[in-house]
Amino acid sequence: MGQAIAFYTLSAFILGFAVLVVSTKDTVHSVLFLVLDFLFVAALYVLLGAPFLAAIQVLVYAGGIVVLYLFVVMLVNLKRSPEAHHDPHRRARLGFVLAALVLIEVGAIAAYSAGGPVRPAAPQAPPTAAATAVSAMRAVGNTEEVGWLLYTNYLIPFEVASMLLLVAMIGAIVLAKREL
């Protein structure tokens, strides 16, 4: 019950702020709504038993990425409104309608599937080799479990991600700097 209340409250906030992010005229306000949205998503993660991810969400998204957005918004000191020019070929309305249709369809699928066997028959065992090690870890805590997986089964993706970040770092410097 308490979980349901929490879920619906958080969902309402998440969706509400998301709508505000998309619809607000002032870019800075939009960014602030985005931060709030992220914080509520982090709260949702806590609700889902993923405190480590929640902390990462706050640290990286709220504390890092969105600060970047704020910087850029402040640096891009616009003399005229960014929405001033409108290309007549763009079919924004059609996109809006299509997106709504997709949402309705997904909702319909969810509604249809509500009684159906969407869930697996039982919470089945995780299909990995390190299953036993992970289940041993689960007793210790969420952070250890994630760390264990990250540095064993997913070490190579992890390294690839680190390379991606390095490349992105260099790319961002090259792009943003006026003269190298």
Binding site: V31, Y69, G171
Partner: protein, 100 residues
């Protein structure tokens, strides 16, 4: 009882809001933020199923998504800045050099 279906619906709604933002807004910074929303929608799904299956692999992938989002934001904002320096605008409708 909150089932994964609920989380999926929340995720789908957040996703569609992000998509609408990408479709409708002309300020490229807002579009980027909409993309962040989309990525968060995906993460919610991943974490929800991580909980459902009692396995942390979903969270691991969420971390990868966060890493990719960070890279995307860095490069994307760099591009925005570079573009702004050249054209004094962040309106995506004015970024049409590739058209016929």
């Amino acid at each position: 009882m909150i089932t994964p279906t609920h989380y999926m619906l929340l995720s789908a709604a957040l996703f569609i809001i992000g998509v609408i933002g990408v479709m409708v807004r002309r300020n490229i910074i807002i579009i980027f933020m909409s993309i962040e929303l989309i990525l968060n929608a995906v993460n919610i799904n991943l974490v929800a199923f991580s909980r459902e299956w009692q396995h942390a692999v979903g969270q691991v992938f969420a971390i990868f998504v966060v890493a990719v989002a960070a890279a995307e934001a860095a490069v994307g904002l760099g591009i925005i800045l570079a573009f702004y320096r050249n054209k004094e605008t962040v309106n995506i409708d004015e970024m049409n050099l590739m058209k016929w």
